[in-house]
Amino acid sequence: MRYIHFDIPLQSKKVFFLVGVLSLLCQYVGAQTSSSRVFTQESAKEEDYFKIMRLPAPEGTVLEVGGLCTLPNGELAVTTRRGDIFIVENPTSQKPHFRKFASGLHEVLGIAYKNGALYCAQRGELTKITDTNNDGKADVFQTIAALPVTGNYCEYNYGPKIAADGSFFITCNLAFPEDEWWRPYSKAPWRGWMLHIQEDGRIEPWATGMRSPAGIGMIDNEMFYADNQGDWIGSGGIIHVKKGAFTGNPAGLVWTSQANSPLKLTQEQLFAKVSPRFQKNENGQDIRPLNVADEKFTTLFELKKSFPEIALPAVWLPHGILGISNSEIVTIPEGAFGPFAGQMLIGDQGQSKIMRVFMEKVNGEYQGAAWDFRSGFQSGVLRLAWAADNSLFVGETNRGWGSAGEATQGLQRLVWNNKVPFEMLAVRAMPDGFEIEFTKPVVRKSAADISSYAVESFIYKYHPVYGSPPVNTQKCAIKGVKVSEDGLKVRIAVDNLRKNYIHTISLPGVVETENSFSLVHPTTYYTLNNIPDGEKLSLTQTNTSKTTAAVPVKKTLADKTSGASKAGSSNTADKAAASGSKTPSFEVVKPLLTKYTCLACHSPDKRQVGPAYAEVAKRNYTHDQIVNLIHDPQPENWPDYATPMPPMPQVPREDALKIAAWINSLSK
């Protein structure tokens, strides 16, 4: 069986975020085929295929990137949150040349090129910018559409994305109050909306339900956007935005009474079905709604039966695992990144990484699978743009929110070395399970063994609380597996498929033929909005049994510790941790921290999105207090950290206590 090497070198500058649910992996660590070998070599990692390179800029250039686009001649337009637009000549060379094209704009958070002009969204307007006398500097700044704002700090505008007919789409962030930070509002027209704007300035309100729509993308001439987890938004994800859609956050619904609104759903109608939980304390101050552990709740897909305007995420990006603040969505063009051409990449501003998405249409609706792709960027990833040589420019900033990575801003470039990684290329829904396509042929025995796979599914609540824990988690038994002749596809028949649920599919046991490497990213999350009709797998075609009786492999040290989290293991470290007689070591809690996505935001000793655990230890909480704070965090306790921790009631008390004990041990 593979010896999966978990490499998290805490002292190094790069932070790797493990994808996947480790407990599932651990469960199958023991299984092996009689003819498999135990390898101690490392499997390939992201950086073996995709290198992050610098774009040198003159010292002192403040590049808090808000917008990126590649011009037809290969130059790169970069906009910044300080209102500058740079044109970078020869951006992929050793000496890119920065030319200041424009300045003095108001926080430019997107840029696009059309017919010799640049179009950008600033705080107050959609602007067309042109250099009419060819001196390399902009001289005409035409207001295409002025957008009303109240003057709140968070009323950002993102975009534009340009449709095939030349019209523009932008999205508008809600306003966030200082005190009730959990309840953003829309008090100027179209805050919380996606707008369709013509060249002559006509504004057509397109859809609402948006909270912080920083990531938008035009895919196949359709608008998609990714929101940030927060109130009403259980987790991030990519949503296909058709005209008249409601994507979840009710703040923008205040404008649906306008004559030109494409949807008529009101807040009152929505709140009649889902309580907004306006609560006050004894002093009459509003208090934020908290997650209730055991309650009846609804989901967005259930509510869609009452409100057909609701747009469900096409592909959920589970919070903390595949990002915490999703951003730019792009399609990988033909000729770029090898087998992944045609698929989508999404940035994440909090975890400073990029995820990959494969989408298909089932019953006419988009759905698909998401994986991690590349982590380790120096700051929060906000914008992506393809270079002429098919490398990927990555624009970064984390000012005001914090992120993984050691920098507060960045302009980097992701380059593929033309070696094909062993990855799941695509996952397609089947009437009775899934078909997984690989980039390289698999070793039949590893792929045919149903114990090489693990599937479970879950969903998020739809409620006014900030974020949602995963709920209704259930396992899905694998009934059978069929490997294609060429070894590039595997079809698995899976029990307990649930429509609209996110299906976690892990393939820890599958290896490829060339080097026997396991998958660079062995776990994917498939959003099963629709189950297709068609032929089911005939079980005679499949391998339906586990391989020869699972012989527990002699556990290596890593296996021992990673297995500690699994109940029933005879591991002594596990016993000790359970009995509480010894403080759990980092090796014991690391898998827990990964499983519960703690490491998405925390590191033992470095400030990331959240405080370092060493800092938490200084607070001298009791173990019980830490357990309560995991379940019900109090962001007010950490005023210097901008991103609130969502409630994590899904962490069982026993595991939370281990984590607490380890955290508190850091203060000694």
Binding site: R81, S103, H106, R123, F141, T150, W181, E636, P639, Y641
Partner: protein
């Protein structure tokens, strides 16, 4: 008496601004705004200026009482008076020999506030105690002022030195915040007199605590080591008269306000403390509670306590009240509840960070009790208390405590023509959300409001402070730096009036106003474009006369009938000369440069005056200040 003077003023203001870093609050750069925030009008006198009896008889007779004055921009030293009272005018000429004017009253620590107007090329000054001069001079156009220019603290003089090296310890103002001659300017000085010991030797230097000219802090905490040149006496003194220079040119003063701080301050004595463990959101029954610790303390402080959280410090003592009157207390007690009881009255309960309480007290030793209960775990204990009362400056009676670390400000300079879009908070409080500021090396900058096509603000000095929008998340706004010249609430420049008396529209309703953006010329000077009432307008604002004014030129195509521009609105609009006006009680000049032969109209509206003019195709005017 505790020697807190040095430390007092900075920390007093900062203490009031202690805002705990709640996690989405952006860190603004610390403005050390010294006092005046809570200072009540204790002992404030407004000099009546109905005659000269408040002043010593003068040798010459250049001083007189008048009702108003006008200067002449083209003639040196010309101030033309209008009969009346309320304005103190110095107008030396062949018949009126010049001299200084010296008040009958004497002062020590004092706040002085006044308006003044200088004639062209005039030179005057204000001498605190007759000894320390703040220079008033027509330095209009000087970009790097010296101590001898407008607002400088004049140099000291040692006659015994070599020629050319006799002047020393003069302090230039931080910028030339002065305005054109013939405009009323505003000066505020907070002065601290030198201190002397029982043996008469000086124990502390005099200080200019703060000098504010036209809203700009030009000196802060400048220590004066000795009298400036031409002082009444070379010996420093505890009190001295106010002296206005009159031997160098024509100047007018009005609205002279003096606040004396010449009384002893109230002191806290016999402070004892008890410390209790527990979480209290109101005063507990102390009789049932044994204290964890107790003791005496020389000063109010939270450091007597060691318990990190859920504690209550009870201070008891006496407030020694030296003169009867109203006393104001500002309490800072974050992370729980603070309760202040003076003379057995609960006068302040702070839930949050800060609070204030007032009470009228008689002379004597008055009972004093302060409770600080802290129970919010993540907030550091801080206890701060200031006291203000009749005749003494507000001062800090608690220990100088630490506050949030200040951040490096982010300034945007304008070495070339520079644009910066941002939110702008106007002096009157309105936030512009679609504004652009244009800065230039002549240091006369302006802000244009895209929402109304309005010239919203102009200012002279450094360009902008972008810290509010570029520090941390920011709030999207930037601050103009330097001396501001507001133009009132921004409204549309253009409008359709059904008659010459019709009200000017208050907003853009019905105007079809649409901003179209701007173009930049090769020097990056913007031309703004917009549409209003069907007309297409180009609007370009240029600096003229090396930074003395802004000229705004508008072209209008397709102007409708009854089309007017409202050039100005203010308290008063006076004619200065043909096609030139003084706006808003001589705050700035407005000159009509080009108007297609249209005639400007000054009209009286309710409570204000307006300058309007019909417009067809072209309009050009300048604001000069």
């Amino acid at each position: 008496m505790k020697a807190l003077d040095e430390v007092v003023l900075v920390y007093v203001a900062d203490l009031k601004r202690i805002t705990l870093p709640d996690f989405i609050k952006n860190s603004l750069c610390l403005i050390i705004c010294i006092l005046g925030l809570q200072s009540p009008a204790y002992s404030q006198t407004v000099l009546p200026l109905t005659d000269l009896t408040g002043f010593k008889p003068v040798s010459g007779n250049s001083w007189q009482i008048v009702g108003d004055v006008t200067a002449d921009l083209d003639k040196d030293n010309r101030l033309t008076p209008v009969k009346g009272t309320g304005v103190l005018l110095n107008l030396p000429d062949k018949k009126r020999a010049e001299s200084d004017l010296i008040s009958n009253f004497e002062h020590g620590d004092v706040d002085l506030e006044l308006d003044f107007m200088l004639a062209k090329k005039s030179n005057s000054g204000v001498y605190l105690q007759g000894q320390y001069e703040v220079q008033l001079e027509d330095s209009w156009g000087v970009k790097t002022p010296t101590s001898g220019n407008m607002g400088g603290i004049y140099e000291r003089w040692d006659e015994k030195q070599l020629i050319g090296q006799q002047g020393y310890q003069g302090y230039a103002p931080r910028q030339n915040a002065g305005k054109a001659p013939g405009l009323w300017q505003h000066l505020k000085i907070k002065f601290q007199a030198p201190r002397f010991g029982a043996d008469g030797r000086k124990t502390q230097n005099a200080k200019m605590l703060l000098v504010v000219l036209n809203g700009v802090n030009i000196h802060e905490n400048v220590e004066l080591l000795g009298p400036t040149r031409g002082a009444l006496s070379q010996e420093e003194i505890a009190t001295g008269p106010l002296r206005l220079q009159g031997d160098h040119g024509a100047i007018a003063f009005r609205n002279i306000r003096i606040t004396n701080y010449d009384k002893p301050r109230a002191e806290l004595i016999d402070l004892q403390y008890n410390i209790y463990k527990g979480k209290f959101d109101k005063a507990p029954d102390f009789s049932k509670l044994p204290p964890e610790a107790k003791g005496t303390s020389a000063i109010l402080t939270s450091t007597v306590n060691r318990i990190p959280n859920e504690f209550l410090i009870q201070y008891q003592g006496k407030l020694r009240v030296p003169q009867a009157g109203e006393y104001t207390f500002n309490l800072t007690s974050p992370g729980g509840v603070g309760i202040l009881k003076v003379n057995n009255n609960e006068i302040a309960k702070v839930v949050g960070e800060t609070g204030q309480g007032k009470i009228t007290l008689p002379v004597g030793d008055i009972s004093f009790e302060l409770l600080y209960s802290k129970f919010v775990s993540y907030i550091k204990p801080i206890l701060g208390l200031t006291i203000a009362g009749p005749g003494f400056r507000e001062y800090l009676v608690s220990d100088a405590t630490t506050i949030k670390d200040p951040v490096d400000p982010i300034f945007v300079p304008a070495p070339t023509n520079t644009l910066l879009r941002s939110f702008i908070d106007l002096p009157e409080g309105q936030r512009l959300t679609h504004a652009i500021s244009v800065g230039n090396p002549e240091q006369l900058h302006y802000a244009f409001d895209f929402d109304r096509g309005a010239l919203a603000l102009a200012w002279r000095g450094p360009f902008m402070d972008a810290t509010p929008m570029w520090q941390d998340r920011g709030d999207g706004s930037s601050r103009p730096l330097g001396m501001l010249q507001p133009f009132g609430k921004p409204t549309l420049l253009f409008g359709k009036l059904s008659s010459e008396q019709a009200l000017w529209p208050t907003d853009t309703t019905g105007s079809n106003y649409r901003p179209k953006g701007y173009t930049l010329d090769p020097q990056d000077i913007p031309t703004f474009q917009y549409q209003v009432h069907g007309a297409v307008v180009t609007d370009i604002i240029r600096v003229i006369d090396n930074g003395k004014g802004l000229q705004r030129t508008l072209t209008v195509q397709n102007s409708p009938a009854n089309f007017y521009a409202r050039l100005a609105s203010g308290k008063k609009i006076e004619v200065y000369s043909k096609n030139m006006y003084l706006i808003d009680d001589k705050a700035y000049y407005l000159r009509l440069d080009e108007a297609d032969n249209a005639k400007p109209i000054v009209r009286n509206m309710a409570g204000s005056q307006e300058l309007i003019i019909p417009v067809q195709n072209k309009l050009s005017y300048s604001v000069i200040f």
